[in-house]
Symmetry: C2
DNA sequence: CGCTGTCATGTTAGCGCTAACATAGTTCTA
DNA sequence: TAGAACTATGTTAGCGCTAACATGACAGCG
């Protein structure tokens, strides 16, 4: 009990920022009224509200959202966890999420797992620690501990990209069916020998699902479904290498079904450099419906996946849930569309 | 004073999550010791630390980072504010930032201004409200109020993409010089009539700076520097439209200097569809050094900007500052490189 | 042996805000 | 005109954590 001296009282590193209390003092109200004027203005008299807002400007108040979040046990964060930022597909989903959430005053907390579900688990822990309002993850595969966390966190959990046994909310498309769809198209076009080319199918397992669908259709038609797996994730360069590898390993191939448009476009451009005639000498198909494919000559046959829409719909469902409305349809199939170009 | 009944005492929505106090109880220590075991393990006895970590696992503790942040007035957020997620350029900068920060346990708080500096201002307020550790913005242009906030917030502020009169830290490249560089290249190649094609130069003002450099060189050589401005931001489609507009407005044009690679690649692909010979009938140049340009035939002449490196270097400088080290060189020019393809 | 220094841990007091309850004034209703 | 219902504002008690200070045990030293 040594400090009777009030000037030597216990001091925290008081940030110099003005607090709500000071705003309240400046407006001549209590701090709860100032709080209400900012957060639930309809519960405060018009006149009072004006005085508070004036005071806010006068003292240069910036709300301490951390304190507000602790007191209310709510934040306005949405955790978004994707496996990669190198892939345009995830970016476009993020764009859809971001546009919808930011319009409602939510912020995106972005995490990147690098296709590692252990890192996903760590990110989920961190984001839960920030009391995020909801979590969005790309895909349905998680570590058991992570599933557990997500299941018991009592917040909306949205799994996007693919459909299946989801934890809670689910917006995506049926990748197996997309693979079947393209395989059928290739058969209809009369191609007899088709190779599927993917990249790192252990990581990009959705491309693996598409291959499963592809193989299913091919085998039902009595054909083989050879697979070539590249060791670098989708890129124009990898696609070029894929074309070379197919021509070497299966010289009589009539069509290549690429796991995505980056690979397919890379192959198309490489074929052009080689003077290869597409589709006469070899047909090429992709997946995603990136803009690039539609600007090539020949235009790329591909499957359009509605990525930004997927993000937007996911965000809307989450917002509905956060507004306390029950979400009836927890699973939402955004579908896809076969875009037939001249490359097949 | 009506509630003497202890069972009816004032209740907060106590989240069911275990708290540090429960961990401490389970480990038989005080909560501050548990806190130290997690945050500054070197200040706790080996034995005790082990007991605490065990207890953490046993009760399934997830630290409440909001509370920690309020108590310590520090968060591990880095605010990153970009004008668009539709542009690959910003994505790659974000990737560089993200990889570096996430490795050090910092999270990215992502904001998108949609090229609107008023929205930027609002985002800066929000992120400051979250006690972010540092802020990264794309570009040097802000509203006066926003400059003011950034200048007085007492946190590292990093402006990336371009160089100039920065508020604090600055990593980028000299866009005017890049414009000059390409203009000189076109002159050296002997093209006499060159048009610059940009998109929304009021928003993408860095493309405007490149045009300034371009015009400077052209005028110094006694040539005109006509400009065509498209009304949609960079895309393959806009580039195709740009080519058409140049051929209509300036039929004798020998070279087009596009503001970026998306436009240039769109024009190249469109020219190919039209049967136009590049560069004999018309030469095409871009800016950014996107992978696509190097896979086209002819390869696109462009300027390589080290985008991921920019993000990485920005992150490293901020981390150095956050570690308490003085940053000596507050401005860092990452430079650029002229990539000469066959399109000029 | 008393003094100082170091280590490990504990006590106390907030961080800045909002939920829950309280209160006073006003309007509506039977 | 009593009292119910509503409006506007205030008082109090935390949210879960950590900074600052306090304490006690023990080692080193002249």
């Amino acid at each position: 009990m040594s400090n009777q001296d009030p000037s030597r009282t216990r001091r925290r590193r008081g940030s110099t920022q003005p607090t709500l209390k000071e705003v309240a003092a400046a407006a001549g109200v209590s701090s709860i009224t100032a709080s209400r004027a900012l957060n639930t203005p309809e519960r405060v008299n018009e006149e009072t509200r004006k005085r508070v807002l004036e005071a806010v400007d006068r003292v240069g108040y910036v709300p301490n959202l951390v304190a507000g979040s602790l007191a209310s046990a709510r934040s306005r964060f949405i955790a978004v966890i994707v496996p990669s930022l190198a892939n345009a597909v995830f970016i476009e989903v993020i764009r859809g999420l971001q546009a919808t959430f930011e319009a409602q005053g939510y912020q995106i907390l972005l995490g990147n797992t690098d296709y590692d579900i252990e890192r996903e688990h760590r990110l989920v822990r961190t984001f839960l620690g920030w009391s995020c309002s909801a979590l969005v993850t790309a895909g349905l595969r998680h570590t058991p501990a992570c599933r557990d966390l997500l299941e018991h966190c009592d917040k909306p959990v949205m799994e996007v990209m693919e459909l299946g046994e989801a934890l809670d909310l689910n917006v995506g498309l049926d990748h197996r069916e997309a693979g079947r769809c393209m395989a059928r198209h290739l058969l209809e076009r009369g191609y007899r020998r088709t190779v599927y080319v993917g990249a790192c199918l252990d990581k990009d397992y959705r491309a693996g699902l598409r291959f499963d669908g592809h193989r299913e259709v091919m085998e039902a038609d009595g054909r083989e479904a050879p697979l070539i797996e590249l060791d670098r994730l989708g890129s124009l360069e990898a696609g070029a290498a894929g074309l070379d590898r197919v021509r070497e390993a299966y010289p009589d191939t009539e069509a290549i079904h690429f796991a995505n448009d980056d690979l397919a476009a890379g192959a198309l451009l490489h074929g052009f450099r080689l003077g290869l005639k597409v589709p006469d000498e070899i047909a090429i198909a992709g997946f995603n419906g990136l803009a690039l494919g539609q600007h090539l000559t020949p235009r790329l046959t591909t499957i359009q996946s509605p990525r930004e829409t997927m993000g937007r719909q996911a965000a809307e469902q989450i917002l509905r849930r956060l507004d306390g409305k029950r979400v009836t349809r927890r699973q939402c199939n955004v579908g896809f569309e076969l875009l037939v170009g001249e490359s097949t």
